[in-house]
Every structure is written in C-alpha cells, then in structure tokens.
Symmetry: C2
Subunit: 415 residues, 2 copies
C-alpha cells in the first residue's frame, strides 16, 4: 500500500499515526487486551469489545475457586450482590449515577421492555397514549416498542432521523406534547455515530411532561455521561461493547431515584422480591433498584466487565472521550485523503463534537469489501444497506491499527 | 463419627456405600468434576451443579481464540446459532423433544413470562380467564403468575399442595375446567422432590381444554422426560442445576411444534426477528422457535453446559435416573437409621418412584445446622422454614459422599 501520501501538515499520514500513538496518554492500556500484539486491525469494539488479557485467568479462577470451590455458598457470600455492586461501579465510573440506581440484568431488549412497561404502568400519566422514537433507532428498540404499543394500545410517533446524523432537540420538541408518555432514543446512533444532545432532549421532553428512556448501548464507556445531572428518567445499555463484558454479557438498567418508590416492572421474579430466600407467599418488591431484577443473575457474564470498569475508573471518562475524539478525527482525515476521492460517502457528522466513537462510511461495494477484509484480519462492521462502520475503542485501539484498517479498506475497494 | 451401625442386611451402612459405588455403572463420571477428589460433601447439585474439570480450559480457550481471536466474526461463524444448536442437543439428550422446539435464552423467570404470555395471547381461548398453579410451586413461578394475572385481568386458582409430596392428577382434574386457560406446575417439587405425573396431568388438563406449562428446573437432567410423547404444550427450566451451566447460566424454553405457527411472545427483539442483521423496519418474527429470542444470547453462559450435555448423551437418561433412584433410596435409608430416631421428619415421598433427585428433611434446628455444616465443607441446602434439602447429582455424587454428608448432619444435630 502507498502510505506516503502527504497530509495537510506535510507529515505523512503514517507518521502522524505514530505521533498520535506516542502522544497518547492512554497508550499503555492497549497492551492489556488480547490480540493487540498482532497485525489484526479491529475496528468493531463498538459491537463486541476485545477481552482483557486477564479475563481468561479471572474466569478460570472463578470456575475453579468460586463456582467449583464455594459452590452454592457463593450466592450468599458474594454473587447475590453483584448485580448491584457492579451496577454501582458502572454508575460511578461511566454513567454519572449515584449509587442505588443501576443494576446489571437480562439483555438490553428485556431491560428496555421492563423499563418502558414500568414507566407506563407506574410513572407516566395514563392519559398519555404516545411513545416517541426515531426511524433510525437501533432495531431492537424499534421492534420492542412496536410490541409494547400493540399490547398496551398505544400509538407510535416516529421522528424521521437523518441517517447520516441523528435526532435533534428541535425534532423532539416538535414530536412531543400532551399525548407523549415516553420518548425512547439512542444517545449515540448505531449507524451514523451521531451523539444526541442528551441534556437538551431530556429537558425538552420533560417540558412536554414526557418521560425519557435513553439507550446507551453505543455511548456507555466511550462518551461522558451525567445521567443524574441531566435528570434522566430511565436508561439501559449493553456491556459487551466498550465495557468488554464478552458476547452476550448482561445489560444494565438505570432508574432515577425519584422514580424508584412504587416503581413496578412487569416480570415479577424471586430475585426482585423482598427477602428472596424466605420464598414466602405473595410477591412484594424488594426495596429500591433491586426490585428491577427478575431471574437468577448471570454471574459468568458479569465477571469480565469488572476488569474494564476498573480501568475506566483509573483512566477517567474525560481522558477516554478525549482519545475517542482524536481517533474519530484521524479516521475522518484518512477518509478524506483516501476514500472520499474514491466516491465513498461519510454517513456520520463532520463535527467531532457531534460524534460518538464510531463513523460509518457508505459505498455500494462495502458488503463484499467487508467480507474480504474479515478474511485478512481487518475487522470493521457491516451495516445494511452498504455501510462500513469503523468503531474505535479508546482503551484498546491504536492510531496505527486504525491506519492499517483504513488502508486495507482503500486497497480492497481498489480491487 | 460412629459409622459402625448395622443396617437391615447386616452390612454396615458405610460398607454399603462402598458396595454401591463399586457397582455404580456411572461411577467414572464423578472424577470429571472439580472438587470430587476432596473430602467436601456436596449435596446441592440440584441448586447449583458442580463444574466439569474441562470447563475452565474450555472457557479460557473460548476467550482467547473465540471471543479474542474471531471477535465479531464469531457471531456469524457460530454464536448466532448456539441458542438453537444447544437447544436441540438439550431436547435430544434430556427433554424428549425433536429438533426445532427448544432454545436457550434469558432466565427461567423471563422465559416463563414469555411462554405464558404467548400462550395466553396466541393459543389459549380468550374466554378462559384462570391460571391454575399450586401453593408450593417454586417462588418465581408464583410471583410471576401473580404479576401476569394482574396485568391481564386473570384469576389465579391455587391448588393446595401437600408440602411433603405434591400435586396429584386428581387435584388438577378438580381445579381445571372451562375457565382454565393455563396450568403451570413444577415437574419435580423444589422442596419435597415429589415427581408429578407429567403425562397424566397433561392429559387431564388437555381434557379440560387447558394448556400446560411445565417448569422442569428440578427435573431436567435427573429424570427421564418425553415432552413430545406426552404432548406437553410448553416447558421451561434452568441449566445451572443438573446441567452444570454455572451460576446464572441461561434458561431453556420448549414450545411444542403444533403451537409454533403464529406464536407471538411479548418481548420483540432483534434476535427473534426474521433476517435480524438486515435491521429493517417493522418486526416480523423469525420462523419457528427462533422467534422466541429477544436480546443478544449469553454466549459465555451457554458454553459450560455443552460438556454436561455430551456426558448425558453418552450415559443416557435411563441410567442417570436409575442411579438417582439408588441415591435417594440410600439417603432415605441413612435418614431412617440415624435421623428419624432423632426426631427429624422426611418431607419427601417414601416411594422412590415418586421422587426426583433430592429429598428434604425437616427439623427446627436445621437453619443453624446448615450454617455449621457449610463451615465444615458439608453442603446441603437450607429451605425455609426448617428444611435441609439433600440434592443428589447422578453424574457427580458418590454414595460415599452422601454417607459423609448424612453422617455430618447427624453429628451436627447431636451438638
């Protein structure tokens, strides 16, 4: 490949990658992840984050000593509390949430179902009959709300999102009113990477008397969050992207403490009951956020994310966001130098401040290009109809890795 | 301890344990489990099964090579199919279910919620307004159905189960009628270990025009099942007991194929949609049992159970049940020799054919006794108000281990 192309400053783009890596205050974290000492270019940490090198050992030790050694005693000694202790750590490290408002549970889809049903049943004004969401929201969010609307006899009000950016404060202002019960939006759009104005939209929705549920799947661990500060009502997200919990690790739920008293989610289970192990007659919800639990927590799936949460607490979300901005800016710079001239479109905002930690590039050939790239250990994501999504995990992605990946996209497109 | 007590045949009970172990055709499986070469007595595999010795290595390898090496490619290459491929293996090895009717998903609580809601919405006659269950059903089943009854405006009809045995065919006949929509029962009762007459009850419920949902948590992997043969409508269960999936491993759902066309579960998510990765507008359920999925499957949590399913296929459920019967019979024999004279009550059926793979012993001191036993690495389970549950996993429990545990209960009770 020809990497000797000049950039605006006169340095080559490859040298720039080296300079950016050398100046990166988070550079030392990359070596903690499996596979970062190979030539593989991983540009999909926004879909499935890499495992930490410590994770196989942590989990083996857990199986030998925790599960295998403590056996059923482990539940009383530690495991029963993990949904809340890890939830609180996530709240503190990532969400801007004081303790007692976050739990790890279920999958994002199930958590969103429980949150929205709980919001409708016990917080929203029953006279309000509309759920507002956008046409480019993540598929599971859209499908889920169609199902809820059907079972609850509600109307969906769709905001037409610009697929290359996302939902604006003005659009939410126009779409909400006295009929709006709940607004469900993604903080970072799964295709464009557009970073919605969470505080602004939350405020506008509240002005209309509506509740807001934020899907944080693509922002948790990559973008600074202050859920308490913004007065967010409810939020959910997954832990297998920037939190490196592993394929299908459980989701998280955030319920603002002002909504906790009397909140009732629909899937009543033993883990959400007061004094679960008394196994008594009649469901009485446990106090606080614990009532959000239903079945037995997935302990395996909670262990891997702890390593990343520790790193995030150490590095700080401000530094992580700063590196993310540099990564997406460099990706756009490579795009402008190599791919824009080849007819590729940037389906993401040009303004770095309006982006999360990924960008999407569109070209009719990209479905096939992605398949070829995967064979070469260059791994971005494909998103229908013809987008390559370049995801950048601030703790594990290097600028050199990004350079290699973008160069491979250019080469593959030429063929 | 004094183990020189004579049994009915004149041999000592301890010698009998050695004879039973020597004659056990499944004895070689025990050594495959972690911790079985220690003096620890584990009598709670019916609550959390032991890990296999291969599990730490299997999971480490998966983290290094699967998650860490294949990264997002793993979904397309294998993981997306695992809920169905492992589900089919479970169906074949354990449930008596032909392929295409079983999936691994969520937790038992969430799976039961989806099954019952789906049954009510798309199979049951909407004019039927009652759900039948029993007062000694597992707590999560009871709580869950209270919640569903409340949201759907249904009535619960409670069968008063004898806590030392369980629900009979006659009781179900009396409780069901033209108003019954769904009957929800446990195949093996979580306290008494009573083995319900699954074919008989299913038939009686069907005669009344009702649907049956079986909770198989305490029977899957310990008792022979023929769900297809009995014409069961729906079933669910967990995989962390006799299937050794690990703490909080996901549940399974069985839907008889006659109910699959048109079946609609309430939590519409991307993994249950036709062509999930097209991410298109509008929910259309995937064909068959796949539509039962909602969110991203917990891959981690599915890996450990595969090792046990392989062993079950090799050993066969008939041999497993046969050993289970011998284990509970020997436990009752030790109880009669040692504990009955000390005032302990057997809160389980005397007839081995009416038992699953655990028995419950009642004594007012047992809450404290259990705590003391745990300190000594003798680990039965405590179930309120004052039961010690002695659970026997046919693949991993030896008769000598059971002898040690029962002797320790006797000793502790004496103090």
């Amino acid at each position: 490949m020809d990497a000797r192309m000049e950039n605006h400053d006169g340095a080559t783009l490859l040298e720039q990658a080296a300079q950016l890596d050398a100046a990166d205050p988070l550079a030392r974290y990359r070596g903690l992840f499996i596979g970062t000492d190979t030539d593989l270019s991983y540009l999909d940490g926004n879909s499935l984050g890499r495992p930490l090198k410590r994770t196989p050992r942590d989990i083996s030790t857990f199986i030998e000593e925790g599960w295998g050694g403590r056996l059923i005693r482990g539940w009383d000694e530690e495991w029963l509390d993990l949904p809340q202790t890890i939830g609180d750590q996530l709240g503190r490290a990532v969400l801007g949430a004081a303790e007692g408002q976050t739990v790890i549970a279920d999958s994002t889809t199930v958590v969103l179902y429980k949150l929205i049903r709980a919001a409708l049943a016990t917080v929203a004004d029953p006279a309000r009959t509309e759920i507002v969401l956008d046409t480019d929201n993540f598929p599971t969010d859209r499908y889920l709300v169609e199902g809820i609307a059907r079972e609850e006899g509600l109307t969906l009000r769709w905001i037409e999102a610009d697929p290359a950016s996302g939902v604006t404060v003005e659009q939410v202002r126009d779409a909400t009113g006295p009929a709006t019960a709940v607004v469900l939006l993604s903080h970072v759009a799964y295709r464009s990477g557009f970073l919605a104005d969470l505080p602004g939209i939350t405020e506008v929705a509240h002005s209309a008397g509506a509740l807001v549920v934020w899907d944080l799947c693509h922002s948790a661990g990559s973008v600074e969050l202050d859920l308490d500060g913004a007065g967010v009502d409810f939020a959910a997200g997954c832990t297998y992207k920037y939190l490196n919990g592993g394929p299908g690790s459980p989701a998280f739920a955030y319920v603002n403490r002002r909504h906790l008293p009397g909140l009732q989610q629909p899937i009543w289970g033993w883990m959400g009951r007061k004094d679960a192990f008394e196994m008594a007659a009649g469901y009485e919800p446990a106090p606080g956020i614990r009532s959000f639990l239903s079945g037995t927590p997935a302990i395996f799936g909670m262990l891997a994310m702890r390593g990343t949460l520790d790193l995030i607490e150490e590095a700080g979300m401000a530094a992580i966001r700063e590196k993310s901005l540099k990564l997406t800016a460099y990706a756009v710079q490579l795009y402008e130098a190599w791919l824009e001239p080849a007819g590729v479109e940037l389906a993401s905002p040009r303004d770095p401040e309006l982006r999360g930690s990924h960008i999407t590039l569109d070209h009719p050939a990209f479905r096939n290009v992605t398949a070829e790239l995967w064979e070469q250990d260059v791994i971005p994501d494909f998103r229908a109809p013809h987008g390559i999504r370049v995801g950048l995990s601030p703790l594990s992605t290097s600028f050199a890795e990004l350079f290699r990946g973008m160069a491979a996209i250019r080469e593959q497109l030429r063929r």
